[in-house]
Amino acid sequence: MARDTEVLVLGGGSTGCGIARDLAMRGLEVTLVERGTLTDGTTGRMHGLLHSGGRYAVSDQASATECIQENEILREIAGHCVEETGGLFVQRPEDPDDYFREKLEGCRECGIPARVLSGSEAREVEPYLADDVKRAIEVPDGAVDPFRLCVANAIDAETHGARIETRAEVVDLLRDDDDIYGVEVRHESGPGKHTHATAGTTEKITAEYVVNATGAWAGQIGAMANLEIAVRPSKGVMTIMNVRQVDTVINRCRPKGDADIVVPHETTAILGTTDEEVADPDDYPEEQWEVDAMIDTLSDLVPILAEARTIRSFWGVRPLYEPPGTGTQDPTDITRDFFLLDHAERDGVSGMASIVGGKFTTYRMMAEQISDHVCEKLGVTATCATADEPLPGSENVEILEAGMDDFGLRSPVARRSKQRLGSRARDVLETDEPNPVICQCEGVTRAEIRDGISQSGTDLNAVRIRTRASMGNCQGGFCCQTMANELHPTYDEETIREALDELFQERWKGERHALWGEQLSQAMLNYALHATTMNRDRDPASESSTVDFAAFDDGRGAQ
């Protein structure tokens, strides 16, 4: 029987997009379905540390070795998504000397370049480190933008012929006895780009082979075909600061613990994280103690964090997995390695494999191994090229640097837009039309917003993720409405109103965990702007009752 596609990939996180790119480059016909937008799962809710491997150099040397290999590859193929910040493992006086030594040795054994800095040398690198910091190990950690990297993989997969469907939730696996031959998806608003107005449809997509890359949700997919996949989702908090207090990734050099990393990202620094097993990856408590712990614990390393302004906090769930029977109690002890579950071997059900566990940093290597497996199953001989072929946007960075002046763009804005867009910068930003700044905090211009809209439709949260618009100090209070304005005239007024409401509510969701001090004042200002100045909370256009306009002052009695 003819199938709709050769390989069907479930899940549009880093793993799924990485697999789609790899297989498409090998010449296979690929379809990827994602229930939300790309990066909606854990990939869009992680710390953004491009691991050097230092973190695992004592506890898990296999992972550490993979990390440093992939770290080096990603710097090559995705330079525009990586900031080479470097990292420090910082030892405080109370942290064990033994562990410091083991860490250093471990790094060397795994091939991770590592150098010891004295306390004062470390403070020269990072002036805000605490005065009593004892020593530090310098490693090549980096900051990675998971949104851009994931999207770059998806775009490249499309270039190689893949079909990427977002807002397409898998609602059932198609199973014929012991063979899985496809899925049924529900399109939230019809196939293609997401717009709010179109009605939903369902579609059966058949495939030669199905790859379940739904991370923390892999168990839910498995259950649709009575397969048990014991994912142990574990949540972690990340707290965003309003300024970039450090330029280097700061790790605490002690065996394990919560709140031990600060990662600089663009204009902010992000504190993380916790590790707590949860029952449902879609519904878990986001707790105050977690945010407090970030600030209280990390200010031991960087004291000014205690006084600094936090913008918001967000949570993600790790798709941790243990083979049946391991029985680890503490989620921090569960391996960060990934597992490929071949359901034919494991459960006697052919046509599908599931991937669980792993890390963002090693997504490409995971994708390569899975793609090898798929090719073997389908009897295809084709080799992996993803380690050598740069991702879209990363080629010719130098030419782009030089071409900067041609764009006539003012520096801070342009430099960052250009980094975001990579080699597409010229196409997007070179415009004859007026190009005012839409988001002042992050310096995002109209051209970039419109480019985001051309790719994401009315899903302004996706536009936000592509452009960073509305993610700065004001948390969208000042620019959400202006972003929505750019949907006009392509979309109608009602659709735009709904898109704006959705974005504004989403921005509020993240802000709630930073609601004190400056950020509470900002929240009140944003609320006043939208409710008082614009009356968006009681917009007559959205209310069911009609207004008796004639009963109000028409201004004519005034003279």
Binding site: L520, R538, G557
Partner: protein, 430 residues
């Protein structure tokens, strides 16, 4: 030596300036000390009294009808219905021709830059021709370089809101604006000074060029609305000139920050302070206070920080008008919400996760944070006793109301500023 006055007002927003003017009206010697820019620069320049009940009913045609039913502790309930009316006529006296709406008790519905309509009680003359209950067809004009106002979208939105006229929007280039990120004050300045600008057909003046650009799009409409950038110092002249050239009425649609109508109101109030002989010191914060001994605490003097030097300011009566969370008269930390100068009691839930609800436009507890007061507007402590005998509070620093949901911000500042200033003025004169 300490600076001495009858009444000292702390905070120079709408509440503080009105309080100072009301106190001066009682022949008191008044000083106003203010730190940073007030909320007026963010606000639209409209003076809302009450657009919706706390339960969300509305838009209210007659705000005064609804005042009687407000819950105990609401600032309007504290001062009483009559005081609200007196305060408004006091404001009308100060604002003169600059504001309209005083001819009726009914609210007006003003089109906003988001395309909705908003109930308000007093509106600047510049928005008068744009009211949504006026059924004349309307052309809205936006500018390519001002992304906050998308005129065709706003027009469609007005229609969806049921406005009783046909609205159409166009987006044009603003003659003389060359930078994509020019500030709104730059647009206003061009028009105020009617600067020479270059157009496709040669050099002309800014107002003529703008009128020419808009004329090409005008059909049967008898009024034209622009974003609120039509001049600053000479806004009336700019509007009249444009109306004359176009042969239709011209009005402004209030905008978000920085808001020219808000700044114009601020200028008007500060000019009135000068006329009334109020001594004004801006750019300096009040940082501390001292009490004198005796029964109920009395403030002896406050301490002003002038570039690091602490200068005592003494008065008989004090008015606290330092604003709410936005003006920084109410502050918060992870564990508490507080009033930073006098440490007056600010009721709030102990757990900061109870300070908000999940729906962004839900019934937000944080929006009601502020001081509880008696009917004389004197702050009360946790036991409902007076914090200080000679301190009154006015404006957004007060608690117990959500001005954003009710659309009552400036009205509360006016009414409570007026009452606090007047009482302080009379008491000091005794």
């Amino acid at each position: 030596m300490a600076i001495e006055d009858d009444v000292l007002v702390v905070g120079g927003g709408l509440a503080g300036t009105i309080a100072a003017l009301a106190a001066a009206d009682e022949s008191a010697r008044v000083r106003l000390v203010s730190y940073k820019q007030s909320t007026l620069r963010h606000a639209s320049g409209l003076v809302d009294v009450l657009g919706y009940t706390p339960a969300g009913d509305g838009p209210l045609v007659d705000p005064f009808d609804a005042l009687a039913d407000l819950p105990e502790g609401h600032p309007y309930e504290r001062v009483g219905n009559e005081a609200v009316r007196e305060a408004l006529s006091f404001f009308d006296g100060i604002a003169g021709d600059a504001y309209e709406g005083g001819h009726t008790d009914a609210n007006a519905l003003v089109p906003t830059h988001g395309g909705t309509v908003k109930p308000t009680a007093r509106y600047p003359g510049s928005t008068a021709a744009g009211l949504a209950s006026d059924d004349r067809d309307t052309l809205l004009v936006g500018f390519e370089t001002l992304p906050d106002f998308e005129a065709p979208l706003a027009a469609a939105h007005l229609e969806a809101a049921g406005a009783p006229f046909v609205a159409r929007g166009v987006t044009v280039q603003f003659p003389g604006i060359v930078r994509d990120d020019a500030k709104v004050t730059r647009y206003a300045h061009l028009l105020d000074h009617d600067e020479v600008v270059a157009t496709a057909t040669g050099e002309t003046t800014a107002r003529a060029a703008l009128a020419e650009t808009v004329r090409a799009h005008l059909e049967d409409e008898t009024r034209v609305g622009f974003p609120a950038i039509l001049g600053d110092d000479r806004a009336d002249a700019v509007r009249a000139d444009l109306a004359d050239r176009l042969g239709v009425d011209v009005f402004e649609v209030p905008m978000g920050p920085p808001s020219l109508p808000g700044m114009r109101l601020e200028e008007l109030l500060y000019a009135a302070l000068e006329d009334a002989g109020v001594r004004v010191t801006t750019g300096v914060p009040v940082v501390d206070y001292e009490t004198d001994d005796g029964g109920i605490e009395r403030i002896d003097h406050v301490v002003v920080d002038r570039n690091g030097t602490e200068i005592p300011h003494r008065a008989d009566q004090y008015v606290l008008a330092t604003g709410g969370l936005v003006g920084k008269g109410v502050r918060s930390e992870r564990e508490r919400v507080f009033e930073p100068i006098f440490d007056c009691h600010v009721p709030h839930p102990a757990d900061r996760y109870d300070w908000f609800v999940d729906d962004v436009f839900g019934d937000q507890p944080y929006a009601r944070f502020g001081l509880p007061v008696d009917r004389e507007l004197r702050p009360l402590d946790a036991d409902d006793d007076l914090e200080f005998e000679n301190l009154r509070a006015a404006g957004a620093v007060l608690g117990g109301y959500d001005f954003a949901a009710e659309k009552s911000g400036s009205g509360v500042s006016l009414a409570t500023g007026y009452v606090a200033g007047q009482r302080a003025g009379t008491e000091a004169g005794r």
